[in-house]
Symmetry: C2
Subunit: 615 residues, 2 copies
């Protein structure tokens, strides 16, 4: 169990200061147009801010229940969009601001279409679009939908509903007007009753904060992770909130506060900053326009203090490029022979390596693609690592698809690494590339094998025959450098030849270190077992190289597992024999240790150079 | 000279496709209400997309000149805001959408205040707010302002201006109505003439794209880097474009296209996606509302295809945290003695290391601060590295300030690293911390010394006396481990004691390697000279350690420079003497080489572990 941190969040501190600041604001009056609302305590005051990442900050009466009222309108509008799609909904309700008050009827003189879904007429027309064969089913769908947004089950305040229903003559008149224009095509009574019920859903300020944050998080409740509305409709819901959400105050609201918002006559207000956060405020004291007085003040302050205006955004251009380098600077963990290393030193810069991050949209991906295009002529292959990418949208996928096409046409491989967490990339390519998919789309789970693929491709061009099944003799062993033929002849009897099949374990992590290995034929790879259970390749060795030397030097158990990649032949030098050399052949031992130091020193230098790349 | 890449950008390809798609759209008519406009070729059609990063993509007649017309309105509104501030401008012109057509007079019945600055009445009132003692000065200020936005000098199309002036009776009527209500307080004639002139500025579609991108880039022209409008007013300009920019089409525009926009009767349209890009389209065929038909189609397509709707944004929560670890995983380049390393192994996790990136705003910084707060109890000190941060705003600064306060109150240092490129952080802290600034705000140019500071702080607590001016005897030399007293006695005569003053060069990069150094007293640091001219510390050594060994092993010149940090005493072992040991004392040589291999092996293991952190 995690103990509660003793340190409070600066955001909580801020909300408490804000709450304290506006408690003395005692202007405004509680709504009385329906008797039940008049029972509210005018001093109730709660604030809740919820981030799109799911952090909840709340203060004051944030758990006090009250009715959602007009704040229900955008959410029901979203449900209507899911039920019918944009075009059908637009044919029933427009999206133009009226500049009029909330109870304005504002029907289009010709078609009878309400001007927008935030005025009562539009909201009633919208309620008429909720699918369901019976009123009970339609109500249940509404409550389920609200529950997904809030992350908890919500219910009606029956007293408020009865009061609304008893006094809602104007809304019944609107219902019949809509029926008259065939905007409603059935008896308006159950529709108007559904509208009264949607307004009577009991919520807390905390609920509102989470509901707003769900809209900020593209329809996914950031606390529960559940989807409350399909992401594609969120922009439409927020658009009508932005242009019509605050009635005749809408223009000034966007100008001053810059967040789509909606208020309710019971004193609730929500505001949404897409991608970032949602705010819920509750205070029943209303201004002349029917908006919560403290609610507006809090939104104004929060927007100004936290710099949340929707239209004041820093440039995202460079955000997606985490790191960029070439194969001359970053190497695969395949340890290269001198000939290979020399060849790669000359042509490694023809491997372009791009590590991406953040959210890939048109604008963030464009900056990456532009950089690639500018260097495309110099590149032989391109490695795109998506490991740190948080999300990708279709327009970013299209840019990468177009880039892939261009590279494919030029006969240059483009490798996609770590796309497992963003499956849209693969799906998009599969749909667009069709039968070419298997040939053109190359996915790698990890950067290291992808980089090795690129290196090998360059070696194929520059070092013909490098991949031949090479066998080396002891005089070619890296650690036998500078040894005379006689010295080598003295060592050879100590070596024991051993063969391994592909996949066979040569060294098991944790085992005691009893021998040093010289690779005579084939390739071996060193793996570390990660906490996740996955294996991470640390190195691959080629004929002539030694391995298993670090545990020998450090006199410690094996720290990693070594597997045969191919058919492998090794010469084993037992630790005891290696130790005996101290006295039997000290000059040989000295040369071996000098060679070993040289190899370690050069690998350390390389590792440090790579570290520079990342720091 | 860079050669032009042979590979075209996918974005250019896309714009060309789009251009091709809408060339056949021959509906709509060229404006004729002033005779000069009727001379436009109805087939002209250009598209230009400019990113907030300054990439320009253009196609078609993107260099054809035409008059800006109503697209001038938001830019002049921005100038009025700079001249008078928001409150004064709001007292003259409102910001509510009218739902009416462009030439609607729409004055508030009580005050005569035009409803918004995008209708002609509001634009004329706005033109009346441009400061300058003479009409010529006011015109020059307007043209200079437009030139900053476009990145090139702009001029009037005199023929169009004359035509506008000859026929502009309705606008003159509006001018006098505004004078009547004291919205204009001087003769309206020169104001209306300035308005005619601002509408007659000749631009190209490319100019419009750059102007739009300047608004997208918080007022800084992304091509020239020059500021065209103060960043704080951009949100206001975009707000009126968003709510009132497309006249009676504004609600539907935001709903469908989701970008603040403005059209002009000569056929231009601009659209702005804040932080991302600007679009300019030019096609003189107009629809019934006076908007460019192809212009609207192109904006619709671009918005849908590239997923540019303002209110459809992915969650930014996790974007700012590049990497997070503790002092147990990442070490300073100060090479630790065994006692120090053991102490740090136990308590290193009490150093919190956060590497930040991207744009720090309230929402991105909140996610970082929340994570710190959750771990604050376990931390002894906190290192915040801003190296990869692109920008920071005041509300993010406030969060870091509040965090710093909490850490300071708990007596825990919070270190600010790499804040040089985002000076706002330091300025903000200085203003808020006042006289406490020098005591509380700790800035470091690089992560490495900051991390060493944290490590040293922990060592002060756990290993009292570790910093004492230590002298060690040869038997304590790391490389002399396992040597018998007799063996050490045989080596000592070969060592030559040498002293260095603080700051003195001990090894010069590039020099031949002639000796191995054993540090007997004081500290030395190894530095690499970077291309930038700066020096990067690679390592700091303590008494007992050897240095200068890598060049010896590799038989290469010195690769780095070593300086004395303090008063230093070293024992030098000449390369020749080291070689002679092979024959004079082979067993000693073997032990030295074994020790050396062990040191290198353990450093290599550490370097590879750090590399894992970053991959």
């Amino acid at each position: 169990m995690q103990t509660k941190p003793t340190c409070t969040s600066p955001v909580s501190d801020y909300l408490e200061d804000l709450h304290r600041k506006y408690v003395p604001l005692n202007d405004g009056v509680v709504a009385t147009y329906i008797p039940e609302l008049a029972k509210a305590n005018p001093d109730w005051f709660g604030i809740c801010l919820v981030t799109a990442g799911g952090a909840i900050y709340e203060t004051g009466d944030s758990r006090q229940r009250f009715t959602i009222q007009s704040i229900s309108k955008p959410f029901v509008y979203g449900l209507a969009l899911e039920d019918h799609g944009r075009a059908a909904v637009l044919s029933k309700v427009g999206v133009e601001p009226t500049g009029d008050a909330f109870n304005s009827i504002s029907l289009d003189p010709g078609t009878g279409r309400p001007r927008n879904p935030m005025i009562n007429a539009g909201a009633i027309a919208t309620a008429g679009l909720v699918e369901g064969s019976t009123p009970a089913i339609r109500l249940k769908r509404l409550l389920d939908m609200f529950g997904l947004y809030a992350g908890s089950e919500l219910a009606l305040d029956e007293a408020v509903y009865n009061s609304e229903s008893l006094t809602g003559h104007r809304n019944r008149a609107i219902g019949y007007m809509l029926r008259n224009f065939d905007i409603l095509t059935t008896d308006p009574t159950p529709v108007v009753e559904l509208y009264f019920r949607q307004c009577s859903v009991a919520v807390t300020c905390r609920d509102l904060g989470i509901m707003a944050a769900t809209l900020a998080n593209r329809g996914i409740n950031p606390v529960t992770g559940k989807q409350a509305i399909r992401g594609e409709y969120v922009e439409s819901v927020l658009s009508v909130m932005g242009s019509c959400g605050m009635y005749d105050y809408a223009g000034e609201w966007i100008y001053n506060i810059g967040m789509p918002a909606k208020s309710g006559v019971a004193g609730g207000v929500i505001a949404v900053l897409p991608g970032q956060l949602g705010i819920g405020v509750f205070s029943p004291r209303l201004d002349a326009r029917g908006n919560s007085l403290r609610g507006i003040k809090v939104c104004e302050d929060v927007s100004r203090h936290l710099d949340l205006h929707l239209l004041n955004r820093p440039s995202v251009g460079k955000v997606a490029l985490r790191m960029k380098c070439t194969g001359a600077e970053l190497k695969s963990s395949r340890v290269r022979t001198l000939a290979e290393a020399t060849a790669l030193k000359q042509c490694g810069r023809r491997i372009g390596i791009y590590q991406l991050q953040a959210n890939l949209t048109f604008s963030t991906a464009e900056a990456v693609v532009k950089d690639v295009i500018e260097h495309a002529d110099e590149l032989r292959c391109l490695l795109m690592d998506f490991k740190h990418v948080l999300s990708v949208n279709e327009s970013a996928c299209r840019l990468f698809y177009q880039l892939l096409q261009k590279f494919a046409q030029a006969g240059k491989p483009m490798l996609f690494v770590h796309t497992d967490r963003i499956p849209l990339i693969r799906r998009y390519m599969k749909v667009r590339l069709k039968e070419g998919f298997d040939r053109i789309y190359r996915a790698f789970e990890d950067q290291d094998p992808a980089l090795e693929f690129c290196e090998n491709l360059l070696l194929d061009n520059t070092l013909p025959g490098w991949t031949m099944d090479l066998r080396v003799d002891p005089q070619q062993y890296e650690l036998f450098q500078n040894l005379s033929p006689e010295e080598i002849a003295q060592l050879v009897p100590l070596l024991r030849r051993k063969s391994f099949d592909p996949g066979e374990v040569i060294i098991q992590a944790g085992a005691p270190a009893r021998e040093l290995f010289f690779l005579a034929r084939g390739h071996v790879s060193v793996f570390l077992s990660l906490a996740s259970g996955a294996r991470k390749r640390l190195a691959t060795f080629s004929p002539g190289m030694a391995f298993g030397e670090m545990a020998i030097i450090e006199q410690a158990p094996r720290s990693a597992t070594v597997l045969a990649d191919t058919l492998v032949e090794c010469d084993l030098l037992l630790l005891d024999d290696f130790a005996d050399l101290n006295h039997s052949h000290p000059q040989i031992k000295i040369k071996l240790l000098e060679n070993l130091s040289r190899v370690l020193s050069s690998r350390l230098r390389e590792a440090r150079q790579e570290l520079q790349l990342f720091s």
